[in-house]
């Protein structure tokens, strides 16, 4: 075991959780620490001792990959995008062909430090151009199928079949399909400060859950009771972690939810899988996209690079990898409104101290587009998922998990 914190006995966890139930604050932060030690030990036993963490960041709305990592060395790019193509002199060049959008100083730094992998041409057969459908395909890792569970949820089921609490954290106002799990109830919250039930002293005893053991027929009621249990398991821990978290690192104007993830990691939360999103279809840039898109990328790059700095600060940078994706790229040619429509193949990014930085996968051709003027994918996106699952988290049966054979990339330092 790498971390001495994992060696505590799990004995008193339940009692202490009860004390912290429903976020009634507990003195001196002991509930958090004690509760965690036991749980971390339980998780470690099930999924390998190293406690590596995966953070998924979704860029919702369909990020325009061509204006993110700009193929400035390819004349075809400027032919496709005479008005919204990013001029060579505004590109943050990383080699003689590609460069980042101007605001992505954070990514440029990570790339030059060898901590950022760019995966070209990610996509799948028969792409959907609907946000919701394509996002569901990415969430379930099952294009053109009706898979009901998310890939992160299935991964949790496989890594920790006994479903210990707090294994998956999804920070958002609603649960993502990606974390939907057969066994786990993901911890989903938005504002950690509000992730608590504020109760009056007199009410505490009456709020202890009181199941009467009778079977629950009403499926909605069953769902609510399960959710209440997960809330009880997590809220005191999350609140306390957030209350203690102070970071001098500048996450930029938006910051996304990554400071919250850093706070939980810093507090030693037993979570192995974090899911966050740049929310609300932000990247859906149909019109006048350049200013907006550049701003979105700046915020995202600021937040991710700050997150890695923050992890270094708390000495957990070697334990965490961030994977970034979007449900599709955008149409290769610009539209008449100085924007781009829904497209197909796109970039993915993987960032972290243990990532072997560089470029993976074959960049799609800008001259041989499909019939709808879209980039043709060269890398099945599930290869990148397999890379995270097998290469990073060390769970090897990706074939069963992803319903197919997907060769992982050699992306991590030994």
């Amino acid at each position: 075991m790498k971390d001495s914190r994992f060696s505590f006995p799990k004995a008193s966890r339940r009692d202490l959780l009860r004390a912290g139930m429903y976020g009634v604050s507990v003195t001196a932060g002991s509930a958090l620490r004690m509760a965690l030690f036991g749980q971390a030990a339980a998780n470690a036993a099930e999924s390998g001792p190293d406690g590596k963490i995966l953070v998924v960041l979704e860029l919702s709305g369909g990020n325009d990959g061509l204006n993110t990592v700009i193929p400035y060395g390819d004349d075809a790019y400027y032919k496709l995008r005479p008005n919204i193509g990013i001029p060579k002199n505004e590109v943050r060049k990383i080699d003689d062909h590609f460069g980042f959008s101007h605001g992505m100083a954070g990514f440029e730094r990570l790339y030059k430090d060898g901590k950022l992998a760019i995966v070209h041409g990610c996509g799948y057969e028969n792409p959907s151009f609907s946000h919701f459908t394509s996002m569901a395909y990415w969430h379930t890792a099952a294009p053109n199928s009706g898979e009901p569970y998310g890939w992160v949820g299935r991964l949790a089921d496989a890594m920790a079949p006994s479903a210990p609490p707090n294994f998956i954290v999804d920070i958002d106002t609603r649960q993502s399909l990606a974390v939907r799990s057969r066994r786990h109830v993901p911890v989903v919250f938005d504002d950690p400060k509000k992730f608590t039930q504020e109760v009056f002293y007199d009410e505490r005893e009456a709020l202890q859950p009181a199941a009467d053991g009778k079977p629950v027929d009403n499926p909605s009621r069953r769902f609510l009771l399960d959710t209440a249990r997960s809330a009880k398991d997590a809220s005191a821990l999350v609140q306390e972690a957030w209350a203690k978290y102070r970071s001098p690192v500048d996450y930029g104007i938006v910051g996304l939810d990554l400071p919250k993830v850093a706070a939980l990691i810093d507090a030693g939360m037993p979570t192995r899988l974090y899911y966050t999103a740049y929310r609300n279809n932000a990247f859906d840039t149909h019109v006048f996209q350049n200013d907006t898109h550049k701003r979105l990328l700046t915020y995202a790059a600021d937040a991710v690079s700050a997150f890695l700095q923050d992890l270094t600060r708390i000495k957990r940078a070697n334990d965490v990898v961030v994977m970034i994706f979007s449900e599709f790229g955008r149409r290769a040619p610009e539209n008449v409104n100085l924007g781009t429509d829904h497209g197909a193949a796109n970039l993915m990014f993987v960032a972290g101290n243990n990532v072997k930085g560089g470029q993976y996968g074959k960049p799609p051709s800008l001259t041989q587009l499909d019939a709808g003027d879209n980039l043709v994918y060269t890398t099945d996106f599930r290869r990148v998922y397999a890379t995270m699952i097998d290469g990073w988290l060390g769970y090897h049966d990706t074939q069963q998990l992803l319903n197919g054979q997907f060769q992982p990339f050699e992306m991590f330092r030994a």
Partner: protein, 599 residues
């Protein structure tokens, strides 16, 4: 004595369990008979076809026949909405604001090129020549948000007090279906225009409704239809009309989308008027869903309406909204047929649903998770309130729970069902209950005081007499400065952070304030009116009044024990004069039960 109490408890449990029709009624669209009708059915109908009822309202409906109840609730017989007050405009829109540019850089670029933007001229010389333009930009952003929040209050009050709750509940459905939001539209007037369509036509004809929405400036702005022009069609509008508004994904090709987009070219708006720009409209021949002709947008909608899948899709979505999430393909086809046979008139479908055995079956009753807006309005209604309280703020509260009016997160609206609930939101819902019953005396109205730390910091420093550059510097961070923060610090023609502060100030001056009264509640009076003599009866009355699905018996016992301890007696007559606070705590505990979320 003990034995007597135990007998009473058993009796009471039976009394609070809500009754539903038999399981075999599931999927059966046969109308219920007059003999089936009772208090619980009436309660279920009011809960779903409206925002719930008080015991008195439920009793009145239970005395009617099912057909009379439907005539009142669905056909609005004997109801009059003419006395409901219209929205009280602040009057904040300035003539130069239209067409409102898409972003701050677009505004400043325009000002640099033309010497004016948003009706404000660039200063001929001096420091920060574009600052007044930038201030005006932020003024409108802020003012439109604040006024939209006032419209939301007005609408929520209508939901609470209207004699036609279904009209508002249906409007809420369409607002989530034809979703558009303030963040993109940036004009409360256009959003109100859409709301008026939903209220006036929401229980009318689906085809006419779709045409009206497709021509509304709010929707045209939201889906960028205004820039869809001949020769370079923008597909967004056409795609969403088919995928989300009418047919659902998988019933058309990408080519159909491109052809439909051509038909919608030239559709635009000027301020609040729909226009077709003839020179931008592609008048050529299109082939759409197997038909060929020189179609325009309305033709496309009419062709969509001829597809059988359209009626199935809409009927299924309406059913899921009012009845339950899981819907068999067979039942969906039957419902689609009702809509089709009635030429897309919505009321016959609603009547069919609300009279059906399926609607009253165990699978449907008490299985729906309340949306946040429903949770709030339903709770206020059952408390007997006559207006939506100003504390807690309705929009902040429902927004924190995942459903702020005029802010659906995406064009797909709110996902609904189980997605309303997460562990975080479940706790937050209980906190909302507390904020109603024990209002926060430190409450600051969000339409007057900003929670935005940056605006507050700038405001403080300007008042201290600092110059704009120093006042707007962000020195709260150390180490590597994020690129976005660096960018905000560079421009000599204007200062964005100052504009943001000043715009806020200008908006507060012109937008009318939301009244901040707290909920006027007397639970003691409620209990006295019911002649309840002991604490168990009080707990059961409260559970039955406020919950559609009672908590487990063990939880109920805890509530009784709690009230006994709080009051120091089981005898209500003894506690008459001091029971209000204890009753409020009891109600907060009831609102904290997972089952409280069920409708």
């Amino acid at each position: 004595m003990l034995r007597g109490l135990a007998t009473f408890v058993t009796f009471a449990v039976a009394a609070i369990a809500q009754t539903a029709g038999p399981a075999k009624w599931q999927n059966d669209l046969t109308p219920i008979g007059a003999a089936d009708w009772n208090y619980d059915f009436a309660a279920h109908l009011l809960e779903r076809a409206g925002f719930g009822g008080t015991p008195e309202e439920i009793q009145a409906l239970a005395k009617m026949t099912p057909n009379q109840a439907i005539a009142r609730l669905v056909r609005f017989q004997g109801t009059d909405t003419s006395k409901l007050p219209p929205f009280d405009e602040s009057g904040i829109h300035d003539p130069g604001l239209e067409p409102f540019p898409p972003s701050r850089p677009a505004v400043t670029d325009q000002a640099k090129q033309k010497g004016e933007a948003l009706g404000i001229k660039v200063k001929p010389s001096g420091n920060r020549r574009l600052q007044p333009v930038v201030n005006e930009f932020f003024y409108w952003l802020r003012a439109s948000v604040l006024e939209t929040n006032r419209v939301a209050y007005w609408w929520a009050n209508r939901m609470l007090t209207t004699p036609r709750p279904l009209e508002e509940k249906m409007a809420l459905f369409w607002h989530g279906h034809f979703a558009s939001n303030e963040a993109k539209v940036r004009d409360y007037r256009k959003l109100m225009g859409e709301l008026e369509i939903f209220q006036k036509q929401g229980t009318g004809n689906f085809r006419d409704l779709t045409v009206a929405v497709a021509k509304s400036p709010g929707m045209l702005a939201f889906l960028d239809a205004g820039v869809n022009v001949k020769g370079a069609a923008n597909e967004n509008f056409a795609r969403e009309i088919m995928e989300l508004f009418t047919m659902g994904v998988g019933h058309y090709t990408e080519k159909d989308i491109r052809e439909a987009a051509r038909a919608f070219t030239g559709w635009n708006f000027v301020d609040l008027q729909f226009v077709v720009n003839k020179d931008q409209h592609d008048d050529g021949e299109k082939t759409f869903l197997g038909q060929t002709g020189r179609f325009d947008g309305v033709d496309v909608i009419d062709i969509i309406m001829k597809q059988p899948v359209t009626a199935d899709y809409i009927a299924g979505k309406i059913y899921r909204y009012f009845v339950r999430e899981d819907l068999s393909p067979d039942l969906q086809k039957q419902l689609g047929a009702v809509l089709r046979d009635n030429h897309y008139e919505i009321k016959p479908l609603l009547e069919k649903i609300f009279l059906s055995r399926d609607f009253y079956s165990a699978a449907s009753v008490g299985t729906q998770i309340k949306s946040p807006v429903m949770l709030a309005v339903n709770t206020y209604h059952k408390l007997g309130l006559k207006s939506i309280p100003g504390v807690p703020d309705f929009n902040v509260a429902t927004g924190a729970l995942g459903q702020q009016l005029f802010s659906p997160p995406t064009v797909a609206g709110w996902a609904g069902g189980q997605s309303w609930i997460t562990p975080g939101l479940l706790l937050e819902r209980a906190n909302f209950g507390r904020d109603i019953l024990f209002p926060d005396i430190n409450f600051l109205p969000p339409d007057r005081y900003t929670a935005n730390g940056e605006v507050r910091r700038v405001a403080d420093r300007i008042r201290q007499g600092m110059d704009v550059s120093d006042a707007t510097k962000d020195d709260t961070k150390t180490g590597v400065v994020a690129e976005s923060n660096m960018a905000a610090d560079r421009d000599e023609d204007f200062n964005t952070r100052y504009g943001s502060f000043r715009g806020w100030q200008m908006a507060i001056e012109r937008v009318k304030a939301i009244p901040r009264d707290t909920a006027q509640v007397s639970l003691a009076q409620m209990v006295r009116h019911q002649d309840l003599s002991n604490t168990t009866q009080v707990v059961d009355y409260m559970i039955r009044r406020f919950m559609r699905v009672p908590p487990s018996d063990a939880s109920r016992q805890k509530l009784v024990a709690f009230l006994n301890k709080e009051l120091g007696t089981t005898d209500i007559a003894v506690a008459q004069t001091y029971m209000e606070d204890s009753l409020r705590l009891l109600l907060h505990l009831i609102m904290s039960q997972p089952e409280f979320q069920l409708s």
